[in-house]
Subunit: 258 residues, 2 copies
């Protein structure tokens, strides 16, 4: 089985032109089948402000009303996705930008409005790898934004970390799949202020203690949940760290294992 | 040789949710290989207004400064393209949205700044059909927005009519290609106020007289130029009219021939 690398990048890279440029240069050089998933960054918030669209927050989470969805589609599937694709092409990496609607690749359902109505947020129900396998086997790199659809014509805002893990799980049937979550730190840190305190390994044995001790907390909680689900559903390798973990053999990172 | 239908739709369909919905329902049912190209409509102008971006016009043509390009990418490649793709999926038409950067399909160069600097406008220099043929031969319908790239990382705003004709010309090597320009009238009209005055046929013999008589004028001039180029470069059929020409055998339209 061939190795497929699925790489997720977030706001810290997307919001910084130079960081994005440098990442994409290196990503282009990665050998073998690969797939990129990108989050949103601050651009959507900035555009909402310019357009006078108010950001509504419930329980610390953003509500996707119809105006916010429109902005998400424009920024994620338009601006960010096409900027990344054009830069990859400039680096001789033949990329195609995708939302979950393209090729009917990621089908989600609108989250129930009870107990909380988060609006046009989609929870993934199915990943179709047929079209993506066709692309990948022809040396084309799919680049996913965090927009999915419900097969009834509705676009939905979907968490980019979850898109990455669900893609990795779906591809685990046909590829040896590796999932890399790139973010601003060297990995999951014991002490959030000490970049040298990387936890080398998180697994089913130590994860509960780390959560109980609040080492894994806030935004890291759902990320680790995505990682654990991937590793338990036959994804071969799951890592969290700086993008360097992909390009430098001596880089630090957190590896998630069973 | 198989027939490939290339259909271009413009603002009159895109700006009207019901018209778009109804068009896409019928387009989904079209048998055989097909490809859709869409223009922009009023959405980009509306967004520019909301964002306080001024539209600059020189010689009756819009200048694409960097803010305008950003809006074009968000609206054309984001909002409109993904809305169309999601609706096609809802109608069981497996579509993939594309800019010219995706799959490195349409390469353009920034228009020279002299005599007039129109900004980030791209003139097409090459169409790569390899990836598109892969998609089409797998029953996938590419949906193109009017954004191309220069292979150096720069996205460029490109005329959607020209994208449609250049795609048709490029595909004429491998398919029997038919090019349909859908717009708000029954075809090219002798008398602009009389929908029954459709000119059935425009060809190299009568085109100059029609231009001289100002029957073909303003926005219709570049459209006819695109049509003539296509028909002279082995596109099998070129038609202008309402979308009905695709779906009803008794519909009126203008056909362009050699």
């Amino acid at each position: 089985m061939q190795i497929l690398k699925i790489v997720k990048i977030g706001g810290n890279i997307i919001d910084n032109d130079q960081a994005l440029n440098s990442f994409l240069k290196q990503f282009s050089k990665l050998q073998g089948p690969k797939l990129l998933v990108h989050g949103g960054g601050k651009l959507a918030t900035n555009l909402a402000q310019k357009m006078g669209v108010k950001v509504q927050i419930i329980d610390g989470r953003r509500v996707t009303d119809s105006d916010t969805l429109e902005i998400a589609v424009m920024v994620y599937a338009g601006k960010i996705n096409k900027t990344i694709v054009a830069q990859l092409q400039a680096n001789q990496c033949n990329a195609i930008g995708c939302s979950g609607a393209d090729g009917n690749t990621i089908i989600s359902e609108k989250r129930p409005i009870k107990p909380t109505n988060f609006g046009f947020v989609g929870d993934i129900v199915k990943v179709n790898t047929v079209v993506l396998e066709l692309l990948i086997s022809n040396n084309i790199t799919p680049v996913f934004c965090a927009i999915t659809h419900d097969e009834k014509g509705q676009l939905l805002n979907t968490n980019a970390d979850t898109i990455a893990s669900e893609l990795a799980i779906a591809f685990a049937k046909t590829y040896q799949t590796e999932l890399y979550y790139c973010f601003e730190k060297n990995g999951v840190l014991k002490n959030i202020n000490d970049e040298c305190s990387v936890i080398k390994n998180i697994n089913t044995t130590n994860v509960h203690q780390l959560i109980q001790d609040k080492v894994i907390a806030e935004g890291m909680l759902p990320k680790i949940k995505n990682c654990m689900q991937a590793i338990q559903q036959n994804v071969n390798k799951v890592c969290i760290g700086k993008p360097e973990m992909l390009f430098r053999p001596d880089a630090n990172f957190t590896s998630i294992t069973k």
